[in-house]
């Protein structure tokens, strides 16, 4: 049911873990729903310098988290904010219909992390 790319990210998740002294933390989802992600980012020169994820959830949840870290790394914060759940799913070669909503939160998680970083900066741009 999953594409090879989804399974590859599930089998070999990229950037799994926590950045201990993160500049921003984003948490989305909820264990009651069976899906939860935590994205931590390190920001340098208004760019996503490092990003890691932790995920509780199904194959789609893990794969979207993994790939969103790859997509975000090195991007400016504005560029990273433009990553959507839809573009994440596309990057994975598609997700099963019933996974489009429930487990496809990774872009939201990244955005939350960036927002968290920005709010800590007092709403400034860095």
């Amino acid at each position: 049911m999953y594409t090879e790319k989804v399974m590859d990210h599930f089998r070999n998740p990229r950037n799994m873990g926590v950045i201990e002294d993160a500049d921003g933390v984003g948490e989305v989802g909820n264990p009651t729903c069976g899906d939860m992600m935590r994205i931590t980012i390190k920001v340098k020169d208004d760019r996503v310098d490092d990003v890691k994820f932790q995920t509780l959830g199904c194959g789609a949840a893990v794969a979207t988290s993994s790939i969103v870290t790859e997509m975000a790394k090195g991007k400016t914060l504005d560029e990273a904010m433009d990553i959507t759940n839809k573009s994440v799913a596309e990057e994975l070669g598609g997700l099963p219909a019933n996974k489009m909503h429930c487990s496809n939160l990774a872009a939201d998680g990244l955005q939350e992390a960036i927002k968290d970083y920005r709010s800590k900066q007092g709403g400034g741009e860095g």
Binding site: Q54, L56, G59, V62, H101
Partner: protein, 391 residues
């Protein structure tokens, strides 16, 4: 497709077709193609073979051959029993009783009937996943026409007190249906001992073919056909019979009759060994379903693992060539966790993190030990990845 290396532990989802079943079916696929409703020789062969199959199944269930009707599987049997009984007795009443842990074939049919002017009472279960017969009795009303309680649950394996329930409701005038899709072939199923009017079974859960099942309809039970048409199955279930499938399900029953009790004991021991092994290796997990193995299907065990999610476990196990299912939503394509686990009072996050293992004839101690060996690191890996588990 390295199937020969696969360790299959999802026998509650479906079973491998026994070779002897496949062999028994083959001539009816290839040479004996006659339509059992026709008059010439090969039609007669098929008709006779079907009646022999019917007798085999009747015998196994303690029923009469005229009480066995072939269907396309457990789902059709359940739909027929419920809709057929509801329709036939609609003038007498519109009230139906069931439980909160039925298979979707019953749940969804009940929901449909609810939208068509029937009223449904859903009796809850205890934390083990077992219904209290008294609660069924209390739910009875003047206008109750049908009670449907599954014999053994397909997610946690809990066995329901069917005989006790039938004892309590037998004077009510309501028909009593049991979905015995999971229990047939695994524990004794006798229609008189259970005291039911209607009983569903399915071929592919008992090492038989997919797409064929049966409904037991006790003599003098009024039920409207679900499939109208040709005169097959004594005018109660139309459609050219699936001859090879029927031969296959009868052969499967024959084999089950030979091996059931010994196999049950063997599987109970395997499950005990597995559970012991898992508990030694993995912290923060617990059993879903009755602790007492005699209240559970022999080969079935369902447990919850804190901090991780079911589908991820299944995928990781598949990477290790082990096939199992989960109580998690993701397996069914819905977003909600298992209605059975929730009905037992298990919190949603733990229901999401539950796994069902259902062993079968082909599993060995080696398989069980292998499972424990690969599952422990899977849990560790997923817990490492999890934002909610940090013990």
């Amino acid at each position: 497709m390295q199937l020969e290396h696969m360790i299959y532990m999802d026998h509650a989802a479906t079973t491998p077709t026994d070779e002897r079943v496949a062999d028994a079916m083959e001539p009816w696929v290839r040479e004996q193609y006659g339509n059992p409703s026709t008059l010439y020789t090969i039609g007669g062969h098929a008709a006779r073979a079907i009646e022999e199959a019917r007798a085999t199944i009747a015998d196994f269930l303690g029923a009469h051959p005229e009480e066995i009707f072939f269907t396309s599987g457990g789902t059709e049997s359940d739909n027929w029993a419920l809709k057929g009984a509801a329709d036939a007795h609609r003038k007498r009443g519109r009230h139906l009783i069931t439980t909160t842990i039925e298979h979707h074939a019953v749940i969804d049919t009940m929901e449909f009937l609810e939208k068509r002017d029937y009223e449904v009472t859903r009796v809850p279960v205890d934390s083990r996943g077992i219904v209290d017969p008294e609660d069924i009795r209390k739910a009875l009303r003047e206008d109750t026409i049908l009670v449907s309680v599954m014999h053994a649950n397909n997610e946690v394996g809990s066995i329901q007190p069917i005989a006790e329930i039938s004892e309590l409701i037998k004077d009510s005038g309501a028909l009593f249906h049991t979905d015995a899709v999971q229990s047939v072939g695994k524990i004794p199923v006798d229609v008189d001992q259970l005291g039911v009017n209607l009983l569903s079974l399915s071929g592919h859960k008992i090492y038989g073919p997919k797409g064929v099942g049966a409904l037991f309809i006790r003599k003098r039970t009024r039920i409207t056909p679900l499939l109208h048409g040709g005169g097959q199955e004594r005018r109660r279930r139309a459609g050219t019979q699936n001859v090879p499938g029927i031969i296959g399900v009868a052969k499967a029953i024959e084999l089950a009759a030979e091996t059931r009790d010994g196999e049950a004991e063997r599987e109970r021991a395997l499950v005990a060994r597995m559970w012991m092994g898992l508990q030694e290796r993995i912290p923060d997990m617990a059993l879903n379903g009755p602790e007492d193995p005699s209240l559970r299907l022999p080969g079935m065990i369902n447990f919850r693992v804190e901090g991780i999610e079911g589908e991820a476990m299944i995928l990781c196990l598949d990477m290790n060539r082990v096939g199992v299912s989960s109580g998690s939503a993701c397996t069914t394509g819905s977003l909600d966790p298992s209605h059975v686990l929730l009905a037992m009072g298990i919190p949603a996050e733990l229901a999401h993190g539950s796994l069902r293992i259902s062993l079968g004839r082909d599993n060995t101690e080696t398989d069980v030990d292998y499972f424990v060996d690969v599952f422990a690191p899977v849990v560790k890996r997923l817990r490492d990845m999890s934002p909610v588990y940090d013990k």
